[in-house]
């Protein structure tokens, strides 16, 4: 079944008693047992909640996974996965990683004896070169934040398989609609569902999908033990959001493609990072491996003063963190989303004081371009 169809089907056949076509919001903490040693399948909402489960089953189907898991945020999802490792373990991770993930890795998990090597994961040879005897996993953003580099997941998966490493793919920017990491050989996919999946800038949520049943059981143990689960209301809103994933993504990509071209032709814009542009270094690979290029654009302006001008003068495009929603948002990664990346690494990566990141929404594209135009003119 096509992903767009799968997405609409989530929860459709859940409520057999009433035939309701969406899953009810089970705002409950606990479930009555029919008898001693018997269970309806639900005991306590931390361990399982029907509304959350509809979402978990749904994302598992979209990703072709055995099982899905929903968390109170994308960071909670990633933090939970890192509990699979133990002190002394080493992970190879994408260098231009989301700042929150970087903070979690270095400042929180670093103190528990996990170590991380930051490499350009769009260069598979660089991943191989970073291998250590203690390496246990590779953590890749399929399309990176904010510089939009695309990893060759298939090649990295082959490397991981030969070295018996787990491959975890943060697929937030692409979603299963554009790319299914497990199909390409990843063991686990993780999402900040706050972004494209929920899609309305109204919910903070994280999702994980796992391919192998045994590994899924381990992830479930951590999810239930730590208890950073997604509440029923937010689970329901995320499911509701996913139903329009296909049409939103179609429109957002279409807009992003046009805006990227418009920006590339603008005299005050010195550089545009968008993999849909033919001169992007990963364009050909991404065209082959992904069903689309997504709707995130990063670009550099010709002088720092323009940054503030654009951020404050755009009217339709809100100056706010986050991305992936129906509303277009613009951010300044150096001081917002990537403030937690060490300054020297930031400089090396090119996250500088003239770089802006644009999350393109579903507004009419002409209006968005007009808004950018007036903001650039000042």
């Amino acid at each position: 079944m096509n992903i767009a169809t799968e997405a609409v089907q989530i929860g459709l056949e859940w409520d057999t008693r009433t035939g309701a076509v969406t899953v009810p919001i089970y705002q409950t903490a606990t479930f009555r047992h029919p008898g001693l040693g018997q269970s309806t399948g639900y005991d306590y909402s931390r361990s399982g909640n029907p509304t959350r489960q509809a979402l978990e089953d749904g994302i598992a189907r979209l990703d072709g996974a055995t099982r899905g898991f929903a968390y109170s945020s994308g960071m909670a999802a990633i933090a939970n996965l890192l509990l699979l490792f133990k002190s002394g373990d080493h992970l190879i991770v994408t260098e231009d990683l989301y700042g929150g993930t970087c903070r979690l890795f270095d400042k929180v998990f670093g103190q528990y004896g996990l170590s991380f090597s930051y490499v350009d994961t769009s260069d598979t040879a660089a991943v191989a070169a970073a291998l250590l005897p203690s390496t246990r996993a590779v953590f890749v953003e399929t399309l990176t934040n904010p510089l939009l580099k695309f990893a060759d997941l298939r090649a990295i998966a082959a490397l991981c398989k030969s070295k018996d490493l787990l491959l975890i793919a943060d697929n937030t920017f692409l979603t299963p609609y554009l790319l299914r990491p497990l199909d390409l050989g990843a063991d686990i996919a993780v999402y900040s569902a706050t972004k494209y999946l929920a899609g309305h800038n109204d919910t903070v949520a994280g999702l994980v999908t796992v391919k192998e049943p045994e590994l899924a059981e381990k992830v479930y143990f951590q999810q239930n033990s730590v208890g950073a689960v997604l509440g029923p209301q937010d689970s329901w809103l995320t499911t509701r959001g996913i139903k329009t994933l296909g049409i939103r993504m179609d429109r957002q990509q279409q807009n992003a493609g046009r805006i990227a071209q418009w920006l590339a032709a603008h005299p005050r814009i010195t550089k545009v990072f968008y993999p849909g542009l033919e001169d992007h270094p990963d364009h050909a690979l991404m065209k082959r491996e992904s069903r689309g290029f997504g709707a995130m654009i990063a670009f550099e302006v010709d002088r720092h003063e323009l940054v503030e001008q654009i951020l404050l003068k755009t009217a339709l495009i809100s100056f706010a963190e986050s991305l992936g929603g129906v509303e277009s948002l613009i951010t300044f990664p150096e001081v917002q989303t990537h403030a937690d990346i060490p300054p020297e690494l930031r400089a090396r990566l090119g996250i500088n004081n003239v770089l802006l990141r644009l999350s393109v929404g579903i507004e009419d594209c002409d209006d968005l371009i007009e808004d950018l135009q007036q903001a650039l003119e000042g």
Binding site: L83, V108, D202, T203, G227, Q233
Partner: protein, 377 residues
């Protein structure tokens, strides 16, 4: 301000923009910024959400703390808070700690190099004897779950201070209405807000409350970094639940006292564990540190058959996990809350196959007693 008033007016309860009584549900992930140099206090909802914040501020006031953080579940509160410890650190933990806390301590945290020694915390000498040079905290529940054992919190605090370590108390059974560990000198109060604080069995949530600013900052850092904060809808429901905390707790305690008296006289009941009973070994200490015995107790029956009959035939008291709701909930610790504790360990602690825990709700006590009567037979 007295507690019943604080419950209603303790937090920021009026929406400044509209005058609405009560905080709006901010179903939001992000906030529009107006300056490049100075971001608003609100920039991303994982870190700050006004609805969650109103709940946090209310609970902080009730517990007499300076800061409260709200989490996706009681276990998320406990797990996140325990991340303040580092590899090599050691904790002394009460041996009948909640099964979920036991599970994270004995599996996840032990693997990260944070070890625990479980002791009978009714015995202050046993707590002190377990302290090592690398011990950084004492983790307590009083009254404990499910045997309602009582720890002398002032005594434990004195030991902790002498050793320069902190005291963490899970105050779920008591709520700040009945017991305020920060006032007794403890450093961190933890809650499964799912229970009495929210009180309607319809939300999962947890809290970590502190008096010390620096400690509050550390926990807040991990809450944001880990993203284990509570969602807006659940924050709102909990804020709504907490308004009736006192009236609910008052009624549940009255009901409990009636039921306990009745059960004590029942021929098939061999023992009742409830700190409100004068013969309970922790009665005096409990009375000195708390304002009431609460509405959860456990009791032992004469046989497994009676136990099974009771669990399966009670109509009013739902046979379910959890506690602290408006509805009475009967549970079977050996197979439910303490199922993750190994059997030998469990029986050694007195969590036998004939032990039943009852969380008393707001039903009429006559109806509850009649129901228990027909089920026990």
């Amino acid at each position: 301000m007295k507690l019943a008033t604080k419950l209603i007016h303790g937090g920021p309860t009026v929406d400044e923009q509209t005058g609405a009584l009560g905080v709006p549900i901010y179903q939001i992930s992000t906030y529009r910024q107006t300056s490049v140099d100075h971001f608003s206090k609100y920039d991303y909802a994982r870190g700050d959400n006004p609805t969650r914040e109103a709940l946090q501020d209310t609970i902080a006031v009730l517990e007499g703390g300076t800061r409260c953080l709200a989490f996706a579940s009681g276990m998320a509160a406990i797990s996140t808070t325990l991340m303040i410890f580092s590899p090599g650190d050691h904790l002394v933990v009460c041996d009948d700690v909640y099964g979920g806390a036991y599970r994270v301590l004995s599996t996840i945290f032990s693997r990260m190099g944070i070890t625990s020694t479980f002791v009978d915390a009714t015995d202050l000498a046993a707590i002190e004897a377990a302290i090592r040079p690398e011990t950084k905290g004492i983790y307590l529940e009083t009254p404990s779950n499910p045997l309602l054992k009582v720890t002398d919190l002032r005594g434990a605090v004195e030991i902790a201070r002498r050793h320069g370590i902190i005291t963490l108390v899970d105050n779920t059974f008591m709520t700040p209405y009945l017991q305020r560990p920060l006032e007794l000198g403890c450093d961190i109060v933890l809650h499964s807000g799912t229970k009495f604080i929210n009180g309607h069995s319809d939300v999962l949530c947890g809290f970590s409350v502190v008096k010390d600013n620096e400690l509050g900052q550390r926990i807040r850092y991990i809450q944001n970094a880990f993203g284990t904060g509570l969602g807006p809808q659940d924050s709102f429901l909990t804020l709504r639940g907490v308004k009736t905390l006192k009236v609910r707790m008052d009624q549940s305690q009255l009901n409990t006292s009636r039921i306990v008296t009745w059960l004590k006289a029942h021929p098939r009941v061999s023992k009742v564990h409830y700190p409100g009973l004068p013969e309970h070994p922790g009665h005096t200490i409990h009375t000195a540190q708390a304002d009431g015995p609460g509405a959860v107790f456990s009791f032992e029956l004469d046989s497994y058959e009676t136990t099974k009959r009771l669990l399966e035939n009670s109509h009013l008291a739902a046979f379910a996990v959890s506690l602290g709701g408006v509805e009475s909930i009967i549970s079977y610790p050996a197979k439910m809350s303490h199922a993750s504790v190994p059997k030998e360990e469990r029986e050694r602690k007195g969590i036998t196959d004939t032990l039943v825990r009852l969380s008393v709700g707001l039903e009429d006590p006559d109806d509850l007693i009649a129901d228990l009567q027909q089920a026990i037979g």
